[in-house]
């Protein structure tokens, strides 16, 4: 099945079995192994990528469903030489232990901060029309799809708060 994706700004072509999930296409066909496979069932968020501006679980989508879509993965968010503000904050705040959930956490948090910027409310938001303050409760709800077996949650929240608090990311 011929599929064309824009991945991290680059046109990528693949010819894979229709069963290939977006996650497997990224990891096994395009050699972008940053996105991780935790559960393969939509429950852990390790495979979170941003498609057409929205974070989704890449394990629950087929690559061919996304023909002509724009995909951003952890590799597109920053590089070891040029970390994004969130990547740097995860390092500074020790927002991980084993690091397996981290690419998903950072992709999810990157999209989440854009959602807040765009004024998308969450169900814990007291005032759904005002711009949100990122309280711990707000962050926990908005990041609820990303699990961390090492339970680095307090430091993940600190890292996100750090970046949310500064004007420029």
């Amino acid at each position: 099945m011929k599929t064309t994706l824009t991945v991290n700004g680059q046109l990528r072509h693949l010819d894979a079995d229709p069963r290939t999930t977006l996650l497997d296409a990224l990891r096994n066909h395009l050699n972008l192994t940053g996105s991780k496979k935790g559960c393969d069932h939509g429950q852990c968020g390790a495979c979170t990528v941003i498609v057409n501006g929205r974070r989704i679980n890449s394990c629950l989508s087929l690559a061919c469903m996304h023909d002509s879509d724009e995909v951003v993965t952890i590799e597109g968010i920053g590089t070891p030489e040029h970390l994004s503000a969130l990547q740097q904050a995860f390092v500074s705040h020790d927002g991980f232990q084993c690091g397996f959930c981290t690419p998903g956490q950072i992709c999810s948090a990157t999209a989440m901060l854009d959602e807040v910027e765009a004024g998308w409310p969450s169900h814990v938001s007291a005032d759904v029309t005002a711009k949100q303050d990122l309280t711990v409760e707000e962050i926990s709800e908005r990041m609820s799809g990303n699990l961390c077996r090492c339970s680095a949650y307090p430091n993940i929240v600190d890292a996100i708060m750090d970046v949310a608090g500064s004007a420029k990311r």
Binding site: I56, M65, M112, H123, R142
Partner: protein, 265 residues
């Protein structure tokens, strides 16, 4: 996952024609169908992708009549400004489905067609007396949800929209499973021209159902106090590792009280 052919449909007619071949299944958000195919609980020969059909997406409101296209994702229901002004209970319900990544892909059409006994939407549609519109006919919610993962849909029939009249008052409360967020018990209450209707999801061993004792109590007085001291039978309730039938019976009354409080604002 077994081998499967993929087809992208551009219209409902297109999709209906594609479904005539083999043992086809429609693919919406894929939040249930793809995991089911991975575990081989589902093994269609052909997948008909509905996610690129624009006529299936969007919410239209005319007076108090709301119509939601089957392909509308939970996120769009949760955040629709006009819908929130008219029927906040449904936006509240949608905002509590799974997590953000699930809400960005999962659709109302997929949810009703799947009729998971712990899904949220079926309770709202049953309580509000909604109509499920397909490419062939219109089906009342009462007749649509027929059992565990069972609906009135025929082979190859496509849900295109759901439509309902917004009740005078409505509210939803669920006790979520802390891991999946599916309802361990969810109660939707609606007070409208047909009186008070109370629908329960996540608890019945045959899927979503209306609770007569709660409807009777609330018909007298649409107030959480009217449910004080009331208990409902635990017969025909689900028992699993999360909760016993007796615990769910208790949750039904507790969630109903909260739903009425929410409905009364």
């Amino acid at each position: 996952m077994y081998s499967v052919n993929y087809h992208r449909a551009n219209s409902v007619d297109d999709a209906a024609k594609m479904a005539e071949a083999g043992d086809a299944k429609f693919l919406s958000g894929g939040m249930t169908l793809i995991p089911a195919m991975k575990t081989r609980l589902a093994a269609p020969s052909d997948l008909i992708d509905l996610t690129h059909i624009s006529e299936l997406k969007g919410i239209t409101i005319s007076g108090r009549t709301v119509t939601i296209g089957a392909g509308t994702i939970h996120y769009d229901v949760a955040t629709h400004t006009d819908l929130k002004a008219l029927c906040p209970a449904l936006c509240h319900l949608a905002s509590h489905i799974g997590d953000p990544a699930v809400r960005h892909r999962g659709t109302i059409g997929g949810s009703v067609a799947n009729n998971d006994p712990a899904a949220d939407y079926p309770s709202a549609l049953l309580a509000m007396g909604a109509t499920i519109i397909t490419n062939q006919r219109e089906i009342a919610a009462e007749d649509f949800f027929t059992g565990l993962f069972e609906t009135a849909l025929e082979e190859g029939e496509i849900v295109t929209a759901v439509t309902f009249e917004v009740p005078e008052k409505s509210g939803y409360a669920k006790f979520p499973n802390p891991a999946s967020r599916y309802a361990m018990t969810g109660v939707f209450v609606a007070k409208g021209k047909d009186g008070v209707r109370v629908a329960v999801t996540g608890a019945g061993d045959n899927g979503v159902f209306r609770s007569e004792p709660l409807e009777t109590a609330l018909a007298t007085s649409f107030d959480a106090k009217a449910l004080e001291g009331l208990s409902v039978p635990s017969d025909n309730l689900m028992g699993d590792l999360h909760a016993s039938p007796e615990y769910r019976a208790n949750l039904i009354v507790v969630m109903a009280k909260r739903a009425v409080l929410a409905a009364n604002g």
